[in-house]
């Protein structure tokens, strides 16, 4: 199937359209809120919350007795929030560190959820439960009503983000200072946390407990590399998230035996990998290029300063000298001399060289800069 056919199919096929829309929305909201998690150094909180939601889902089923997405959501939300607060309680009240608190809540809640799930499965109406999908996610079960819920939550969190933009930004950057300005930081904090839990809970049935944290982190981590502005980072993260959803759904819909959740996560991982390497200025590739360029420049600068010392010995700094003189000094080559000539720092005449005005000033500048740096 060609790409064009697939795009037509997305617009005409009801199920595929629903799933694509759903995963795109989910990716967008996760990218948006994940940016906050990444910047607050709470990257693994998402993982803990998604695991902590499991017993809530199971309990909702036990109490309510029927398969109903809405009750599952409420159950997951309550137990996710409970887990979050317990993590905060453990780190605040005991000497246990945050990583232990995260691991504890993650595994203990999940284990308890497992106990409940297996208990439910032994009951009579077990097959109707369909709880398995919360473990690994099943995008295929997305229904139009789910998409509406996702759209609603995305819309509301977008509105709140726009409304409290200034407050979010300053809290993320400098919480203590925010307090001195008279803002109630706890209100902002609770807003952010609640929406994060909500997004995670919504994502559970699509990508599942295990992979949920990647949906939050990957788009944000990728987006961070491309920009130094918070709002651009959030927009790019939302776009990356949505694209991961759309592309992942596409790949998994057109291939056999590829479940949607893992494919979406891998697409997001590709975005991360690509951004880590190719992002301008922060990316590893450009960093390496810049590093090598600097090293070359440093070499040229060194040669220039040696030439400057030699030229200073003569009254007229433009007086030509033999290239051989430089032989005592390491680190120059024909190539680097040629390069210096193209920079118009020196002029080459056969076996002779002489500094130009430009080269002389450059050398003086370098000399001063060096002294200033030593001053620091």
């Amino acid at each position: 199937m060609g790409l064009q056919d697939y795009i037509t199919l997305v617009f005409t096929d009801y199920t595929l359209r629903t799933i694509t829309l759903g995963t795109a929305l989910l990716g967008a909201i996760c990218g948006m809120l994940g940016s906050f998690a990444v910047l607050r150094k709470q990257s693994l909180l998402g993982d803990a919350i998604s695991h902590a939601a499991l017993p809530g889902i199971a309990l909702a089923f036990l109490i309510h007795g029927a398969k109903n997405s809405f009750y599952f959501l409420i159950g997951a939300l309550v137990s996710g929030l409970l887990g979050t607060f317990w993590i905060k309680g453990i780190t605040k009240r005991t000497h246990l560190k945050s990583d232990t608190a995260l691991g504890l809540v993650l595994s203990l809640f999940f284990g308890f959820g497992m106990l409940l799930l297996t208990y439910i499965q032994k009951q009579e109406n077990a097959n109707q439960a369909g709880l398995d999908k919360y473990l690994f996610g099943q995008a295929a079960t997305l229904m139009e009503s789910d998409v509406w819920i996702l759209a609603g939550v995305t819309g509301i969190s977008l509105l709140i983000l726009l409304f409290f933009w200034k407050e979010f930004k300053i809290l993320l950057f400098d919480p203590e200072y925010t307090k001195t300005l008279g803002f109630n930081t706890r209100v902002i904090d609770i807003l952010i946390t609640t929406f994060m839990v909500l997004a995670i809970v919504l994502g559970l049935q699509t990508v599942g407990v295990v992979l949920m944290s990647a949906m939050l982190l990957a788009p944000a981590a990728a987006a961070r590399q491309w920009t130094n502005h918070l709002w651009k980072m959030i927009v790019i993260a939302a776009v990356f998230g949505a694209l991961s959803g759309i592309i992942g759904t596409g790949i998994s819909a057109t291939q056999n035996n590829l479940s949607t959740g893992p494919v979406i996560v891998l697409v997001a991982a590709v975005f991360v990998l690509f951004s880590f390497i190719f992002a301008p200025s922060r990316g590893l590739l450009f960093r390496q290029i810049r590093f090598m360029k600097n090293r070359n420049n440093l070499k040229l600068h060194k040669t220039l300063s040696v030439m400057y010392e030699i030229a200073k010995t003569h009254k007229n700094f433009k007086h030509p000298h033999k290239i051989k003189i430089l032989n005592n000094f390491q680190g120059f080559s024909r190539k680097s001399l040629k390069k210096m000539e193209t920079y118009q720092w020196i002029e080459l005449n056969g076996q002779m060289w002489n500094l130009t005005d430009k080269g002389y000033h450059k050398a003086v500048n370098l000399y001063n800069q060096q002294n200033i740096q030593q001053d620091d």
């Binding site: 693994l44 009240r93 999940f110 284990g111 106990l115 208990y119 982190l217 996560v265």
Partner: protein
């Protein structure tokens, strides 16, 4: 109790011990979440090992999976070093990607692979007794017992051999480097043990619950003791206790054994979290309340010591300027009176000689930053605590 039941409990107990040992060090080294990352990312290693050996119990599986675990750690550290993202983000990026690769590998080869992601994540120890090893016709017992038993023996041998090095490098990495133990070797050694243990345990209790068995007993022990050997001991005991009790609870409820063991671990931790004698939150809250009154008392005495003028030493001044509520100030004054540190004449408070001595000693201790000695001093001066 049937022999199958006994074997299940034995395997579960061995898994608990094998997890508790590396778990203790992971918790102390603030690397608990690494165990979560390892437990997920070994999946592709297991799958590839299975492709090659076509045998779920092949040692190759364990080797490859452990290797994947170490690769995960290296990858996480590499990403951290680039400085592109923060440390925890690096963990959160690597393991879901690895896990996804594993899931897709299984799905792509569903016809050849009788591996179930459910089984890897959740485990099924109930089936362990049915997969046995025979030598000629002689029944040597369940395979998982041999696997986890071997891993446990190696872990214990390593623990005993390198106990000193582990201890020093955990509590003081710099000293350890100075003494010539490379922190890197111990670090990666520990990571390897954690990986191997995770692999050995996953088919019994599942990958996620390995995390519970590593972290929860260690965290419980951490709240009960400050001694490394005791901490290891308590971790092991609470792990084994949870394994056995968890088994019978699961038996009773007819539910997942792994889930049940974790739940017992959770309850055990929760009880410790509430009631641990020194570090439990009830004890902490009680101590904070006591200390709050006692620090208030010290403040009050210091205030009296600083101010000779009567207006500053009037009882009403406590509420006005020191800004205490009526209840607090009454408690403080009562405590000071009970301990013979002040006398009150006409609403004017004065320090007794004992009060003066106490205050001056307290000041000198606090200024010289020997705050721990204040506790010792308090017990010398106080007849009644706050």
């Amino acid at each position: 109790m049937t022999s199958a039941q006994f074997e299940i409990q034995l395997i579960a107990s061995l898994v608990a011990i094998a997890c508790a040992i590396p778990g203790t060090f992971l918790v102390l080294r603030k690397m608990a979440m690494i165990s979560d990352a390892i437990s997920h990312s070994i999946l592709p290693g297991i799958v590839v090992g299975f492709f090659i050996s076509h045998n779920i119990n092949s040692p190759l599986l364990i080797v490859l999976a452990a290797l994947t675990g170490v690769i995960t750690v290296v990858l996480v550290e590499f990403i951290q070093k680039t400085g592109l993202v923060k440390e925890d983000t690096a963990i959160g990026l690597v393991f879901p990607a690895m896990f996804s690769i594993g899931v897709l590998l299984i799905a792509q080869n569903a016809n050849d692979v009788h591996l179930d992601v459910d089984a890897v994540l959740l485990g099924e120890i109930a089936f362990a007794p049915f997969d046995r090893i025979y030598w000629e016709d002689y029944d040597l017992g369940p395979k998982s017992l041999w696997v986890i038993g071997t891993i446990l023996l190696i872990t214990i041998a390593l623990l005993i051999t390198f106990f000193k090095e582990l201890k020093v490098s955990t509590f003081d990495a710099q000293l350890s480097a100075a003494l010539g133990f490379s922190p890197a070797i111990i670090h990666y050694g520990l990571m390897s043990v954690a990986s191997v243990t995770t692999v050995g345990a996953f088919d019994a209790v599942g990958a996620i619950l390995v995390v519970a068995l590593m972290i929860a007993p260690a965290a419980t022990a951490y709240l009960l003791t400050e001694d490394l050997k005791k901490m290891l001991g308590i971790s092991i005991v609470s792990g084994v206790f949870s394994a056995i009790v968890g088994y019978w609870v699961a038996n009773f409820l007819d539910a997942s054994i792994a889930g049940s063991i974790t739940t017992v671990l959770g309850i055990l931790f929760f009880i410790t979290y509430l009631f641990a004698p020194k570090k439990g939150i009830i004890a902490v809250l009680h101590r904070q309340k006591q200390q709050k009154i006692e620090v208030s008392l010290l403040t009050f005495l210091l205030h009296l010591n600083n101010h000779s003028e009567e207006s500053e030493r009037h009882l009403d001044h406590l509420q006005d300027e020191i800004n205490w509520q009526r209840g607090t100030s009454k408690k403080v004054v009562d405590l000071a009176l009970k301990n013979n540190m002040i006398t009150i004449n006409n609403q004017i408070v004065s320090l007794t000689d004992k009060g003066k001595l106490f205050t001056e000693e307290a000041i000198s201790y606090i200024i010289s930053n020997k705050k721990s000695e204040i506790e010792e001093m308090k017990s010398r001066f106080f007849l009644f605590r706050g």
